[in-house]
Symmetry: C2
Subunit: 362 residues, 2 copies
DNA sequence: CGTTGACCTGCAAGCGGTTGCATGCTCTAA
DNA sequence: TTAGAGCATGCAACCGCTTGCAGGTCAACG
């Protein structure tokens, strides 16, 4: 296919030097080289638009300038921003990304072996759940594969790790709602299979404790964001049927929050006047809802960048680290303190434009 | 790094055969081979978990089983689904994806050269705009690089191409709204820089013509989905201020549609009773809005699959094709014929669950 | 004038595979 | 008994590039 691909040999011939000299030019080993030769070789390279085959180079150096990205559950819109951020950061650092989507850990094991045959310089695993089987990863360090896990349990100290603080995020949301005067704050939890769910539940409890509210069993319901939205609707209705009904709901994620808003509006409630709603993720559409959604932003993008940075450092010989990032509460109208009318006004626009941000670290 | 990577040589030694024999086993050239040898080699391979380096193999065969994916404006959530679909399809066909995000055509040119050094077997370009500069692509065929473009102008007949029918989609939406009784249907167009915008505008005109409605200049406004949502809000307000105001709006995309819904609701209008709203894209959140959004679904996922299929066929020696896919109108409540109340009812749930789908091809 | 460095450049081996063709073996038939 | 067919395996070149080290040139120095 690559019929007439330019090779280093051709460059050498045309510049009337040896292949090694060209290689030296390419790799900056140019210290002890006559300016004349250097210039000549460079000239030929640029006129022929020669780019050395990174695959041949990789074969001998063991470096391919490629890193593998293994994403679990790529459908989750949230993780797309991570992929984008990762790609940007990687390219800035001179790397390319082989992106693989793993469905389940068996699949992941297979993906990893493929990635190894491709000679990637390292692998980043990004999951939306910490509760993943890691057994197939434990032999990576022995094989000399560098790896960083994001939002996921760490298979061993040879792995880099980036997480974010779900617990503090939810606790902060509870505080925020308490500040607004809410005294009965409900919590929709995600599926138990995820560690983050546990963390968030812990954050909910902690937040309540901190502001001095009792933990009430009936205010916690399951709303599995991987399940059918109808189930979220039902969970919301159950909460709203309580007596006294909660005046605020923290939802499993932004999608669930959207349905919470819709469900309560259909019951004739006004958000935030009758019910405050807080989401988790800060997905792109959060700002487009009516009302715009207050939500806990997960630092997915930053996590991606830190993971890449860590991996690149590791390739350069440094040892792996563990980083925990802060989440932030982005306050929008769905938890606005003042009741909103449904009528547009200049004032409303301004209020909508405003955005308050608060961060929580451990 | 890959300190003790197993090589074909080791396998050869342990099986007491030559390297070539192992290679023959690996590549299925096993016809004239004694069953005993075959089994022995296979045994060693599997006990040592040997996987041949695809990079070394690529060097000699010229095939890397890797294809490049160049995505323009990766932030667009819509295209993430394409990436996911592409990855799935690629892996099923035995390929991996190097994903690159190109911002602008200069960047794209650079990405392409990098991809070439990595020895990709082909490249898929996917853009959310047909109006991209293609000059830097025209030399790809000469270099023996196979390429498929998605939703984008075709640089030449050597390129594969997959598009979808924006025009018919919008025309169909107009028909749908007309069927519901709407006689004044507004259209929010996207930025002029995109071919799709022109196509959609043409579809709008054609739809009007088909149902016998006049084209009214004042019913068309710009709502650039890459711009600030406040501008969408303003465009919506301008439409609603008209006298007579339109009773239906086709929005530039789903995000814009969400804002249209919000804006009209804030003015005290009820969707769809007072105003029908149709989006474009069928993004994930369309179904979560209040009311759920009727939208023109673009076959992004299918396009990705067709593009991959075409590329794989081309690698196998077939020539490129051009495919145009149908769009479908997904009817949800935002254009429901019957007025909706804001009060929940069992009936409402059922109606919400329903989904009507209609397809338009050229 | 012979040596010695400093300074450039090229040789050749090797990375981990693939592949055309030669080689050696076994077995059958003349 | 032996040539030839047929089969199983190995040889060696090659893919495009890197790199340690040898080798060659030239000016200055003793």
């Amino acid at each position: 296919m690559s019929s007439d691909r330019v090779t280093i040999r051709q460059i050498a011939e045309m510049s009337e030097v040896s292949v090694s000299t060209v290689s030296n030019v390419l790799n900056g080993r140019t210290l002890r080289m006559s300016a004349e030769t250097l210039e000549r070789v460079r000239g030929v390279i640029s006129t022929l638009r020669y780019r050395p085959s990174s695959i041949a180079r990789g074969l001998v150096t063991g470096r391919t300038a490629t890193i593998g990205l293994v994403v679990a559950e790529i459908e989750t819109a949230l993780f797309f921003s991570a992929v984008g951020a990762l790609e940007t950061a990687a390219r800035a650092a001179g790397y390319n990304l082989i992106v693989c989507h793993a469905r389940g850990s068996r699949d992941e094991a297979e993906v990893v072996t493929v990635l190894r045959t491709k000679g990637v310089d390292g692998i980043i695993f990004i999951a939306n759940s910490e509760a993943v089987d890691n057994t197939h990863l434990t032999d990576l360090p022995a094989a000399g594969i560098l790896a960083v896990v994001v939002n996921r349990r760490r298979p061993g100290p040879e792995f880099g790790r980036v997480t974010w603080n779900d617990r503090a995020g939810v606790a902060g949301a509870v505080e925020h709602l308490h500040d607004l005067g809410h005294r009965r704050i409900a919590f929709l939890r995600g599926p138990r299979s995820r560690d983050s769910t546990r963390e968030r539940a812990a954050g909910y409890r902690r937040g309540l404790k901190k502001v001095g509210l009792p933990y009430q069993e009936d205010c916690v319901r399951l709303a599995d964001y991987t399940a059918d939205p109808l189930t979220w609707e039902r969970a919301t209705s159950e909460l709203l049927d309580l007596d006294p009904a909660p005046t605020a709901i923290i939802a499993s994620d932004d999608s669930v929050a959207a349905v919470v808003i819709r469900t309560s509006q259909r019951r004739g409630l006004s958000v935030p006047r009758d019910l405050a709603v807080v989401g988790i993720d800060d997905q792109m559409f959060a700002t487009l809802l009516n009302p715009p959604l207050t939500t806990i932003r997960l630092p997915v993008k930053e996590a991606a960048e830190r993971a890449l940075e860590m991996l690149v450092d590791a390739i350069a010989g440094q040892s792996m680290r563990e980083v925990r990032l802060a989440t932030e509460l982005v306050v929008r109208d769905s938890s606005s303190p003042e009741p909103r009318t449904n009528v547009s006004s200049p004032d409303a626009c301004i209020r909508q434009g405003r955005r308050t941000v608060q961060s929580w670290k451990e």
